[in-house]
């Protein structure tokens, strides 16, 4: 069987994923591009005698070095040399979509154009003559409908055909005599110096555009300085001729070329019709209604995710409770059943409890994203986020979700295109007080602040937000210095999301959580269990166990925060598994069971009210739970950021609790 390697490329929102799913069905693998936080989807399928391997390239408008997605895409085309690139195009938006096509032609890609969304094009009364387009570009043009199988056969045929006999597109691109001559001139210089594996004409164009990556590559070569001074000379000459920079002249030339194509191959109405999207936007992004509508939709997302999710969560919880008891019943009490029940079922079950809300959340997010609303939400909230924390409008959503659970909050940062925005948002989401921390506050507030419970808990939530904002500001001045991600975002037309599409998205993302986070949690649960059961023969999690001893050893660290005894230290150690475990650990340690006044009484021996508040603040701020850390690991594809998160949140927690306790003591609170 013959193999054909293809890649899907196109602007964001053109139906690339839909086509990918249609082609590969369930045979796909989702991971990351090596060393990047950008998602990489691969799959394979059979067509006649061919085994076709597909890679889904990130959605891009262009192939400059502007974003990591663009770099990933062009490196792939240069280094991996796929047999065919299927360029998915939104037929209703031909002009801008062709800009990417033209850039891929510069790169020497062997392309098939797949015109998608033809229905929307006819709604706009656009008539595209694909045959004319084919003749002008020298690239096969196929009309498809990614959401059903229209045009599938034609597309696959075209793919096989151009994989056998690559398109001849030489001299198709016409950028005018002046530019072409100078590109040619520079191309010869590049060829004399045999630079890298990329096409020389493309290198020439990128040099003229001051593309920083290509310039770096050239700088490192023997003859680099000479080449670059030639580039400068030609740029200067072009400036004199065109009265603008070379990159502008090139962009103008590309759009000029595209305008020519459009003129020949598209019939369009004289005036733009006012679209349905425009009517919706007049309400949804309205000056007065925009923000209330945004808040309402966020509230609904939150409510649906967490209230609909709750009963399912209980089912999972009950199931693992039952499983644990049954296994304990069958195996009796010995170390092995303790490993299974306390260690593995306790740890992994504690994470799988999140699965229902995570799936629901992703379903909601997919619907918001596919419908086009997410972009409007960012549009409406951008100024607020930008002014306060210097973040992108889209960061608002992960932060709101963090109040429910940080795991989906962190996963929702996927909607942020800019990597630094994404990392920064991930780093501050854990300060949004998730629902798992509420049982801890509830316990302490009831035990110590009977009269003001509500206010005390509310103040903790506010504290989390203030710390998040402060940390964002600090990060912007230090590790993410100089970053000011501009807010350039397409507002795609509203579309009715398809259930199938949303379910596929949900499954892809949810499954990743189960698989990757699950394995890390599994390992860590076993480690914690071992530490709590050694040395042999001690009571599980007692002061004599390694964990107990660890707690005892680190307890002095917490003394300046007002809780220097071993019990809070151990409960904080266990709280890393999941924050509500802090409560159950107190139950175990004090030997009073989980509920009832027993714990409260015992707590009064260990904490003063001020120390209790300091402890609550510490629980809010310190290391987010394993599931969150594992999610950060999985999302950033490295250990650097999860480890950083563990360290810095602990430092912040310590500092804030120190200020609360010592400051409070000075002011005479006890």
């Amino acid at each position: 069987m013959e193999k054909i390697k293809i890649a899907l490329a196109g602007n964001p929102n053109v139906g690339k994923s839909t086509l990918f799913n249609q082609l590969t069905g369930m045979r796909q693998h989702v991971g990351n591009w090596p060393g990047k936080t950008v998602e990489k989807k691969e799959g394979a399928f059979r067509y006649g005698d061919y085994e076709i391997e597909v890679v889904d390239l990130p959605g891009n408008y262009s192939l400059s070095a502007y974003s990591i997605e663009e770099i990933v895409s062009r490196d792939y085309i240069v280094d991996e040399k796929p047999d065919v690139i299927v360029n998915v195009i939104d037929a209703a938006n031909l002009e801008r979509n062709l800009y990417l096509t033209v850039q891929m032609m510069e790169l020497g890609a062997n392309i098939v154009l797949a015109l998608n969304m033809n229905k929307f094009a006819s709604e706009k009364e656009l008539e595209i003559k694909s045959n004319t387009l084919y003749q002008l570009l020298g690239i096969p043009v196929v009309k498809i409908e990614a959401s059903d199988k229209t045009g599938r056969e034609d597309l696959l045929n075209a793919i096989v055909k151009v994989s056998k006999k690559p398109n001849d597109v030489s001299n198709r691109l016409n950028y005018g005599k002046e530019l072409s001559e100078h590109i040619q001139q520079l191309q010869e210089i590049v060829e004399e110096n045999t630079l890298s594996g990329a096409p020389s004409s493309w290198m020439a164009i990128k040099l003229l555009e001051n593309d920083k990556i290509i310039i770096e590559t050239v700088e490192k070569t023997l003859n680099g300085p000479n080449i670059l001074s030639d580039v400068k000379r030609i740029q200067k000459h072009l400036m004199e001729v065109f009265g603008e920079d070379a990159d502008e002249a090139l962009a103008d030339a590309r759009y000029g070329f595209i305008a020519g194509l459009i003129k020949e191959s598209v019939k369009k109405p004289k005036i733009d019709k006012i679209t349905r999207s425009e009517y919706i936007d007049r309400v949804v992004t309205n000056r007065y209604l925009g923000i209330p509508i945004f808040l309402l939709i966020m509230w609904l997302t939150f409510q649906i995710t967490f209230t609909v999710g709750a009963p399912f969560q209980e089912i999972v919880e009950t199931f693992f409770g039952w499983l644990g008891e049954t296994i304990a019943g069958i195996m009796g009490t010995n170390w092995f059943s303790s490993l299974i029940v306390d260690g593995i079922i306790g740890g992994v079950g504690g994470v799988l409890v999140f699965v229902p809300i995570i799936f629901l959340l992703f379903l909601m997010l997919s619907l918001l994203e596919d419908s086009g609303y997410l972009a409007r939400a960012a549009f409406v909230m951008d100024k607020f986020m930008h002014k306060i924390v210097g973040l992108h409008g889209k960061s608002f959503i992960p932060m709101i979700l963090g109040f429910g659970c940080c795991v989906p909050g962190i996963m929702a940062t996927r909607t942020l295109e800019n990597e630094k925005d994404r990392l920064l948002t991930m780093l501050i989401v854990p300060f949004m007080s998730c629902s798992a921390r509420l049982p801890v506050y509830a316990l302490f507030a009831a035990a110590f602040f009977t009269a003001y419970q509500g206010w005390v808990i509310f103040s903790i939530y506010i504290l989390g937000m203030i710390v998040a904002i402060l940390m964002a500001l600090i990060f912007k001045k230090t590790i993410f210095k100089g970053m000011s991600a501009p807010f350039v975002m397409e507002l795609p037309p509203y579309r009715r999301p398809t259930i199938k599409g949303a379910l596929i998205h949900t499954w892809e993302r949810g499954y990743l959580f189960i698989k990757k986070a699950g394995t890390i949690i599994f390992a860590l649960s076993v480690v914690i269990w071992v530490l709590s059961s050694l040395p042999m023969g001690v009571e599980y999690a007692s002061q004599a166990s390694v964990t107990g001893q660890l707690g005892t050893a680190i307890a002095p660290v917490f003394a300046p925060l007002g809780f220097g005894e071993w019990q809070p230290a151990v409960s904080l150690l266990f709280g890393v598994l999941a924050k509500e475990v802090v409560v159950s650990t107190f139950g175990t340690i004090y030997g009073v069971g989980e509920d009832g006044g027993g714990i409260m009484m015992a707590l009064h021996d260990t904490f003063s009210p001020l120390a209790a508040y300091s402890f609550m603040a510490f629980v809010l701020l310190y290391i987010p739970c394993f599931a969150t850390v594992a999610t950060i690991k999985r999302e950033t594809n490295s250990w650097k950021w999860p480890i950083f998160t563990i360290l810095y949140t602990t430092v912040v927690a310590w500092a804030v609790s120190f200020i609360i306790y010592q400051g409070g003591s000075l002011l005479g609170f006890a």
């Binding site: 502007y66 801008r96 962009a251 759009y255 007065y288």
Partner: protein, 76 residues
């Protein structure tokens, strides 16, 4: 009349006459259609006063005023 893009009122249209500045972002925006001679419309301003929605090459894009001010438009 030539105006900066960020100074247009909602609903005003024009033609791009120049794009100041240099660099990746500019190149990126040019790729999205912000080239000389392109028809452009400021559709609306976000509820909080920033960013703005721009209509260009038959689609909508949002920019902060900060980015829009480098673009000069000949208002119709």
């Amino acid at each position: 009349m030539i105006k900066k893009l960020n100074e247009l009122k909602a609903g005003q249209r024009g033609i791009i006459v120049s794009f100041k500045g240099k660099g990746d972002l500019k190149r990126y925006l040019m790729g999205m259609g912000f080239v000389k001679g392109a028809d452009i419309e400021l559709r609306r301003v976000a509820p909080l006063g920033d960013p703005v929605e721009i209509r260009i090459k038959g689609y909508s894009i949002s920019l902060r005023k900060e980015e829009a001010k480098n673009i000069e438009v000949n208002v119709k």
